[in-house]
């Protein structure tokens, strides 16, 4: 199993470590609920170094990224980040990703850890633009610093005021380490992500500096468990659960990143057709008022007929209710706002909710 540069730190903090995408990663340090609340109320730090980083370089880097991603790269300029996805010809999703525009001839694509090999092969296969593709995933450490107090901490380390807008980034030295500082994250909170190279010593220096600067805000290390509940409270999709090769971005609620007006991209024809034919199902937020908690795979029924299944489910630490995402037929959704979920043989009432689950 692979380990990130923060492995010893996790060990020393007594984190519960689990295998995730081939990495030994912390799922929780103290308690998922406490870590979740730390991010919502103050600030938390996630080691997400397992994520993949692919650099695209060349004269036609723009054209390449425009062709393999569904969002409009035309909207980007140096220092701007974009949430996007790659699709297959049939409209199924290869992966969701972040596109960083370093220059018109250089982009950084940040992809899911579990998809690195598959994505990189897909990029190589579709490289008809003669761009250079560099998989730098193993070289980069990545920390996400998330929460309302994150800015103050990053500014302390940076030594300057940070004026970064949402989904913008800069490249500069922080604590003498060359870094991409990006105002991104997957929690719904004000937050930053720090990309940097270097060994365990460099990583430890950054980690310790963050925790020293964050002491006054009771900064907490946060594991993958809370990362999942935080993203689900916002209704953000997780690849492998809510989206995969069998789902298209339109039914997943990602039409806002699907630029069908672009002259071309892989999957465009299939997605146009899907839109014309009308979507058969939609990723739908569900809320359970009773004390019963939805889990991945649970069946959703209406009038005792199966109409879908839960792709992500948890108890929301903020709402203290069960929240879930499930693909439900659009026919049923026209008819009702209340469905049932089969939980241990009982039909539990679930309300069709709105995203995000929590009000921000």
């Amino acid at each position: 199993m692979k380990r990130t540069t923060f492995y010893s730190i996790h060990k020393n903090l007594n984190a519960k470590l689990v295998e995730f995408a081939g990495y030994e990663m912390p799922v929780q340090y103290s308690s998922i609920i406490a870590e979740h609340k730390a991010v919502r109320q103050s600030v938390g730090v996630f080691d997400v170094s397992h994520m993949g980083e692919v650099f695209v370089r060349g004269e036609k880097a723009f054209d390449f990224v425009q062709e393999i991603t569904i969002n409009d790269v035309e909207k980007l300029f140096p220092g701007r980040v974009q949430y996007s996805a790659m699709c297959y010809e049939d409209g199924g999703i290869v992966d969701d990703l972040l596109v960083y525009c370093i220059s018109e001839k250089e982009y950084l694509l940040v992809i899911n850890a579990s998809n690195i090999e598959k994505d990189f092969a897909w990029m190589q296969k579709n490289n008809s633009f003669d761009v250079e593709l560099i998989n730098a995933s193993d070289e980069y450490s990545l920390l996400a610093v998330q929460g309302p107090n994150s800015k103050k901490i990053i500014e302390k380390l940076y030594g300057k005021e940070l004026t970064l807008e949402y989904y913008h980034f800069l490249q500069d030295k922080m604590l003498d380490v060359e870094m991409i500082i990006s105002r991104t994250g997957y929690t719904g909170e004000l937050g930053y992500e720090l990309y940097f190279k270097g060994d365990e010593q460099v990583a430890t220096k950054i980690w310790n500096a963050l925790f020293e600067a964050g002491k006054e805000f009771d900064i907490q290390p946060v594991g993958l468990g809370a990362r999942d509940s935080l993203r689900l409270e916002m209704g953000y999709c997780l690849y492998g659960n809510d989206i995969d090769q069998t789902t298209n971005p339109l039914e997943a609620g990602l039409s806002w990143i699907t630029r069908l007006s672009k002259s071309h991209f892989i999957g465009k024809e299939a997605l146009l057709l899907a839109k014309q034919n009308g979507l058969k199902r939609k990723l739908t937020p569900l809320v359970i008022e009773e004390r019963a908690f939805p889990r991945h795979g649970y069946t959703v029924v209406f009038k005792s007929k199966e109409i879908g299944s839960v792709t992500s489910g948890t108890v929301s630490p903020i709402l203290e209710k069960g929240i879930a995402l499930a693909y439900l037929s659009t026919e049923t959704l026209k008819e009702t706002k209340e469905v049932q979920m089969l939980i241990r043989g009982r039909e539990i009432s679930a309300q069709v909710g709105r995203l995000p689950f929590i009000s921000k």
Binding site: Q28, S31, I33, A34, F293, T314, V315
Partner: protein, 126 residues
């Protein structure tokens, strides 16, 4: 890891304390640690009787869900109502306030197959 000497254990990580013919049952410190934040202890309030090894409820944590198994057969005397509103008690005090049910033991012979603290600690690799 806290594994009290006075208790008996099951392979499914329940503990049982026996006082005369009354057994008190909960889950072990190890089990609560593995589960993480407990958010719901689901035991049928009308549960009258349990059989040894039978499922008597479900425990929901943020990340996972796990079944509860009776360490012995008997009549259910009491279900811990406190856990309805404060399920996290199971995390905080698994051997005390976090108990789950009290059973009137009908077949004391069944107790012989339970694990003692040494056997349980071996089971969890302590």
């Amino acid at each position: 890891m806290n594994i009290p000497q006075a208790l008996k254990y099951t392979k499914e990580h329940e503990w049982i304390s026996v006082n005369g013919n009354i057994a008190t049952v909960g889950i072990t410190d190890y089990a609560q640690g593995e589960l993480g934040d407990v958010v719901f202890v689901d035991i049928d309030p009308n549960l009258q009787e349990v059989k040894q090894h039978s499922n008597f409820g479900t425990i929901e944590a943020v990340k996972t869900v796990s079944e509860l198994y009776a360490p012995c057969s008997g009549k259910v005397l009491e279900i811990n109502k406190m856990l309805t509103d404060t399920p996290e008690t199971v995390n905080i005090d698994p051997y005390g306030e976090g108990w789950m049910i009290k059973i009137e033991i009908t077949n004391p012979a069944e107790l012989s197959e339970l694990l003692d603290d040494a056997a349980y600690s071996q089971l969890i690799g302590e």
